[in-house]
């Protein structure tokens, strides 16, 4: 059995990346994710890797663009305002089809907002942020253990799809401590870098060209069609979610990340009282698990979406559920999480 260690969230995510073969980190300080770059600045030199503090988030993501072009595993981390600054570069990384992992330890917005946890960047993560028809694979862990496991998976998926993968955490996850176990990662390096990456011109007999520019409209459309086929493959192969207490559920909660963890306690308490409540917890936010919402058990009478935002994931739940079942929403923002009691009260209100 692998060792269990008590670690702070940000550091556990960073260590998971190292164990997944990531030796190169480029980033810029921002609260509440600073322990990730701090950890990497100590850890990466130990394994012959590179930690480089960039002059801005704009530079960070363009460094990721350069590093990823070599086919090596590279990453950056930031928090909401920093991700906004990176969004242009993320579009370039996606357009050039480069693999990388971006950790977003979300804080409250808009603007400078605050430094406390939030889930108000769901739209930004799943609907772009940057320009153009691109998608990120977005993984949303609910516990530190899941954060560690999904980080390892993220590097594997980035290489598999030649696409940026975002770990969408929040300030709670970054700052809390929990026991984690580091399992074997699915892979520790790209399997096809020599075929396409920078640095193999002699071996390959052909130079590498890393770009997102296609001035010929036919070529650009073909490029976009190719990207869409890739995103479609993700929706076929990579959807992940958890069903919790869905047996006979009349009220179905939809929540992800830390909020789902809080909701789980509320469901546990109410199930003891005989309230028929369950939860669908999306783990991938793109691709979104529409199927479980399209095929809810016949017992379902109400949906309750709970988020640490003013309501963003609710749009995807509506797409999945359609119009036959009423959907209500409960959210807190500004760095405030919905409490177990608040969620219980909401469920009771619906149960009548």
């Amino acid at each position: 059995m692998a060792e269990r260690m008590l670690m702070k969230g940000n550091e556990a995510l960073a260590e998971a990346a190292v164990r997944a073969g990531c030796k190169y980190f480029f980033g810029y300080p921002i609260t509440p994710q600073n322990e990730i770059p701090e950890y990497m600045s100590r850890r990466l030199p130990e394994i012959g890797g590179v930690y480089l503090q960039a002059e801005s988030e704009v530079a960070s993501i363009n460094m990721v663009f350069g590093g990823a072009g070599t086919g090596k595993r590279v990453m950056t981390s930031s928090s909401s305002p920093g991700i906004s600054l990176m969004s242009e570069g993320i579009s370039y990384v996606a357009g050039a089809e480069l693999p990388c992992v971006i950790m977003n330890i979300v804080r409250g917005g808009p603007g400078l907002g605050g430094i406390l946890p939030a889930q108000s960047d769901y739209f930004q993560a799943t609907r772009g942020g940057g320009h153009g028809d691109y998608r990120l694979l977005v993984l949303a862990p609910s516990t530190l253990q899941e954060g560690v496991d999904l980080t390892m998976l993220a590097f594997d998926l980035a290489d598999k799809y030649h696409n940026p993968v975002m770990i969408l955490g929040d300030g709670f996850m970054g700052q809390m401590m929990e026991a984690v176990e580091f399992k074997e990662p699915p892979s520790t390096q790209s399997s096809d870098a020599e075929e396409w990456a920078v640095g193999f011109m002699g071996k390959r007999g052909k130079r590498a060209l890393v770009k997102s520019l296609y001035l010929d409209p036919e070529e650009l459309e073909q490029h976009n069609q190719k990207l869409q086929r890739k995103y479609h493959a993700m929706t076929q192969n990579e959807v992940r979610y958890e069903s919790y207490q869905m047996e006979g559920a009349e009220i179905v909660l939809a929540a992800y990340g830390t909020t789902a963890r809080i909701a789980r306690s509320a469901i546990m308490n109410l199930r003891k009282e005989g309230v028929p409540v369950g939860m669908i917890r999306p783990i991938t936010l793109f691709p979104f698990p529409y199927a479980p919402f399209e095929t809810l058990p016949k017992s379902t009478k109400n949906i309750l979406v709970v988020e640490m935002s003013m309501g963003q994931m609710i749009d995807d739940v509506k797409i999945g559920v359609g119009k036959d079942i009423p959907i209500s929403f409960y959210g807190r923002s500004g760095g405030i999480a919905p409490s177990v009691k608040e969620i219980e009260d909401q469920i009771r209100k619906i149960a009548g």
């Binding site: 190169y24 530079a59 770009k211």
Partner: protein, 252 residues
């Protein structure tokens, strides 16, 4: 008697017609870079980073590993690539809008970290690709589409002397300004580019060559007049020469 070639296309250059305007000196600068890469025998281990601007298609002309970067970000892209693959030789090729305006943060910090990369900086005192707008390097009284009455220092500030600024930093190994507007300057320009790449090969830090260039189309001049304008207007404001050389070569 066997045929002796005294002039041929550099191996590191594709045999294609460029998209540049008549009288533009990007072609000369490209050729210098390609010749130096050939002469140093580094084609297969070199990567270039193209900017946004007229030289965005650099990758169509120079046959090495290539990136096409976002506007101004080439030094960040090159910094990371070189850190990940330190045995490679990396260069960026950037115009004055790309490097001195939107990309000023990236160039200053790459230089200040002493990144082992080579920067070729084309200064033609104007935005070319977008159609003749004012650049940070546009001379006083020079007209551009966004300063139609001439650059006014009270409104737009003064033309920036980028290499002089960067030469104040401790980390750069080699910094020079040369000119490619007339044949008589080209040999010195090539010498500067060669020294810049050699500085990188020798592990002596960041290297950069600014090349004063023409833009007859956006200056509204005939090519010959444009070449004269570089000599008469640009060189007095942007003096040619080496501003920083690796330590061993410092002259008293």
């Amino acid at each position: 008697m066997s045929e002796v070639k005294i002039f041929e296309r550099p191996k590191s250059m594709y045999d294609v017609i460029t998209h540049y305007c008549p009288g533009c000196t990007h072609g000369v600068a490209h050729r210098i870079v390609a010749e130096v890469i050939d002469e140093l025998g580094i084609q297969e281990r070199t990567f270039g980073v193209a900017p946004v601007g007229c030289s965005v298609f650099l990758y169509n002309y120079i046959n090495t590993d290539m990136y096409e970067a976002a506007h101004g970000r080439a030094p960040a892209v090159a910094s990371a690539t070189k850190r990940v693959r330190p045995e490679m030789i990396g260069f960026t090729y950037q115009g004055d809008g790309d490097l001195a305006s939107i990309g000023m943060a990236e160039i200053v910090h790459a230089a200040n970290r002493g990144e082992h990369i080579t920067v070729i900086f084309i200064n033609n005192a104007i935005y070319g690709m977008t159609g003749g707008q004012m650049a940070p390097t546009t001379l006083l009284e020079q007209k551009a589409t966004t300063c139609p009455f001439g650059r006014d220092p009270g409104v737009n500030g003064y033309p920036m002397r980028v290499v002089e600024m960067l030469a104040t930093l401790a980390a750069p190994g080699y910094i020079a300004r040369a000119c490619v507007a007339k044949p008589k300057y080209v040999a010195k320009a090539k010498e500067a580019v060669r020294k810049a790449f050699q500085t990188q090969i020798d592990g002596k830090g960041f290297s950069m060559v600014e090349l004063l260039s023409t833009c007859p189309t956006n200056w509204g001049m005939r090519p010959v007049d444009a070449a004269d304008w570089v000599e008469e207007k640009m060189i007095p404001y942007y003096p040619l020469g080496e501003l920083k050389v690796p330590h061993e070569e410092v002259k008293n």
